[in-house]
């Protein structure tokens, strides 16, 4: 009975509609933010920050983006990584050719470019439905992979095709340590998560869910298909674009087309399936799961079967287990780990009583 709503009455609709109506939830989120902003930089080591937490945040952001278009609005996008690539290469080129542009503005603009591209590739969705839409996203995926590999202008004619962004700074503070990169990423992701939450609980979120469930109904209510769909593509691609820019700037430290291939698109798709489609919390859970699982697995393998299983085999096992997990989740719990989290929360509401 630690975690319950009893005794917390809402007397106005404003209160009821607030983001975190439960006191316990508010504490949890504030606590989480405190840990993230203050605790981690103080306590965690560089490896954890740079190799685990930073990519976790970036992949969560990408998952939120994909969730908006595929989880909430129901338009299948198999080419998420392509939009990340657009964001990454835009950011790189902005920095290269307009060095005075402040970093945050750079990322914003890159997001907008990705959004624009998203709208263009979203146009076919006005005519094409469901499965066929997958083709559009695959077209985007392969087209951009090819574009950023073969059109040398994008990577400044560097022969390897891989470029390094220039040193970053925000308001004069240099961003060159894992901690500073982490904090930058964290701030951007926190703000954008808030925006996503607001959108999803407003009219736009309802419109997106409406077109997912039942297009005919949505039209009958007066929802404009075209605008709603294209807006979903735009917002989702914006998120993916910013995630891509962050991926290249604050995590990898380099930008190349190969980092944004079809495999990457599938990984993000897996994140939202395992995390729970359409769930904001699920985006984070799914990203954490997929990032941490291989690490966990290799530790276990090391501890139990060291020597028997080599690196290559580990890779295969990973594929095998991911595939199996996808199948498992889609059959058993399509709402993903987010649903499991809700079940846990429900148990907490009642604890120590069983029901």
């Amino acid at each position: 009975m630690i975690y319950r709503e009893a005794g917390q009455f809402k007397t106005t609709y404003a209160d009821d509609a607030s983001m975190l109506p439960l006191r316990e939830d508010r504490w949890f989120i504030w606590g989480l933010l405190a840990v993230a902003f203050i605790g981690v930089p103080l306590l965690a080591n560089d490896y954890w920050i740079g190799a685990i937490l930073t990519p976790f945040l970036i992949y969560s952001l990408a998952s939120i983006g994909l969730n908006i278009i595929t989880g909430v609005a129901g338009q299948l996008n198999l080419g998420a990584a392509a939009f990340m690539a657009v964001g990454a290469f835009s950011a790189y080129n902005f920095q290269l050719r307009i060095p005075e542009l402040p970093l945050i503005i750079n990322f914003l603009f890159s997001g907008f470019i990705a959004a624009g591209v998203g709208v263009i590739f979203g146009l076919p969705s006005l005519r094409i439905k469901g499965l066929y839409l997958a083709v559009t996203s695959l077209a985007a995926q392969f087209l951009f992979e090819w574009l950023f590999t073969n059109v040398e202008w994008f990577y400044n004619y560097v022969s390897s095709g891989s470029v390094t962004p220039a040193p970053m700074d925000v308001f004069g503070i240099a961003i060159d340590t894992p901690i500073s990169k982490y904090l930058l990423t964290l701030s951007i992701v926190a703000v954008l998560t808030l925006v996503a939450r607001n959108l999803l609980r407003s009219r736009i979120g309802r419109q997106w869910r409406a077109i997912h469930d039942m297009e005919v109904s949505a039209e009958v209510i007066g929802i404009k298909m075209a605008q709603t769909k294209l807006l979903a593509f735009a917002v989702s691609s914006f998120f993916l674009g910013v995630a891509g820019a962050l991926y290249g700037f604050t995590y990898l430290g380099s930008i190349e087309a190969a980092a944004f291939d079809l495999h990457q698109s599938f990984i993000i798709l897996f994140m939202i399936i395992i995390g729970g489609m359409g769930s904001l919390v699920g985006s984070f859970i799914g990203a954490a799961f997929i990032l941490l699982f291989p690490i966990f697995m290799s530790q276990v393998m090391h501890a139990t079967l060291s020597g028997v299983v080599d690196q290559g085999m580990l890779g295969n096992l990973e594929l095998l287990i991911f595939g199996a997990l996808i199948i498992f989740f889609l059959i058993v719990e399509p709402a993903g780990l987010a649903r499991l989290w809700q079940v846990v929360k429900n148990k907490l509401r009642m604890w120590p009583f069983p029901h």
Binding site: M19, R209, I221, K224, M225
Partner: protein, 295 residues
């Protein structure tokens, strides 16, 4: 929709009146409050000479139907007669190959679905078309979509108009929820509700749009006697209090005779009768259609 706000406060009035026992007694068999006779206005919507076919199947053949303001028009007929198709044509979901549709005097070759919505036409579907993933509250809120004007940014930041929209329209939606007595299930995902409740939620979603014309496709299908009586009461209340014009497809003859002002009969995509309920029930062609006499 200038009398919209009047309608909403009228719903609130009605909620208060409901609890008033005398008000209940004063309702006569047509649901009208005692002392008031209903005034039926001019033709609100008409569909003339409509023909609709799918592939080789002709669903509607040269049908002309109209409905007058404030009336309750019943559409009846055997299965497959084209009743739902007729409604879909009025609503803009199907586009007829021939014919003219006019609403409030404006003539069109076909209605577009979102145009219909914007002009104040709302409807429910035979096979419930609710958004299964959303709660009752959210579903009915979608009905308010046309009234919500906040831009993208104020929604993204949830301030100003974005926030105010949510609150203001929540109030309107709560009025509808009260009216239909759905308070206890407002946060439940609709997929979990029993069939009868889902039909009520669908009605709520249509009502939230403050329509001037309400198209109901078998709103009482699958309901037990009590649920039917409730639904009848709601329909009559809506028609009486706000003057909403209602077109109703229904199979239960008792209901049709009781609440409809006028009845149109369809069979094999053609209209075979149109008039007062008493006239229709004694019309030989109608009786033949229902009994399956060869023709």
């Amino acid at each position: 929709m200038s009398d919209g706000s009047m309608r909403m406060s009228a719903i609130e009035e009605l909620n208060r009146a409901d609890t008033n026992a005398e008000a209940m007694d004063a309702v006569d068999s047509k649901g009208c409050l005692a002392g008031q006779t209903k005034v039926i206005g001019d033709v609100l919507m008409s569909a003339d000479d409509i023909s609709l076919s799918f592939g080789g199947v002709k669903a509607l053949t040269n049908i002309s139907i109209n409905v007058r303001e404030h009336e309750i028009l019943g559409i009846i007929g055997p299965n497959g007669a084209g009743k739902s198709s007729m409604l879909n044509v009025l609503n803009g979901i199907y586009h007829p190959q021939e014919g003219v549709i006019s609403f409030r005097g404006e003539k069109r070759r076909q209605m577009k679905a979102h145009q219909a919505a914007r002009q104040g036409i709302a409807r429910t579907f035979q096979n419930i078309a609710l958004f299964k993933g959303m709660s009752v509250l959210d579903n009915i809120m979608t009905g308010r979509d046309l009234f919500m004007k906040a831009g993208f940014w104020s929604q993204a930041l949830y301030w100003g108009k974005g926030q105010r929209d949510e609150i203001e329209h929540r109030e309107k939606v709560e009025a509808v929820i009260n009216f239909l007595e759905l308070q206890s299930i407002r946060k439940t995902p609709v997929g979990r509700l029993p069939y009868g409740m889902q039909k009520l939620v669908e009605l709520g979603r249509a009502l939230a749009a403050e329509p001037s014309l309400l198209l109901l496709d078998e709103p009482m299908a699958g309901m037990n006697v009590e649920e039917k009586e409730d639904m009848c009461r709601y329909i009559l209340d809506v028609n009486d209090e706000f003057g909403t014009t209602i077109v109703l497809i229904e199979h239960d003859m008792g209901v049709v005779m009781d609440i409809c002002d006028r009845v149109a009969v369809l069979d094999y995509g053609k209209k075979i009768g149109d008039g007062l309920p008493e006239e229709i029930s004694s019309n030989q062609a109608v009786i033949d259609a229902y009994l399956g006499v060869a023709h």
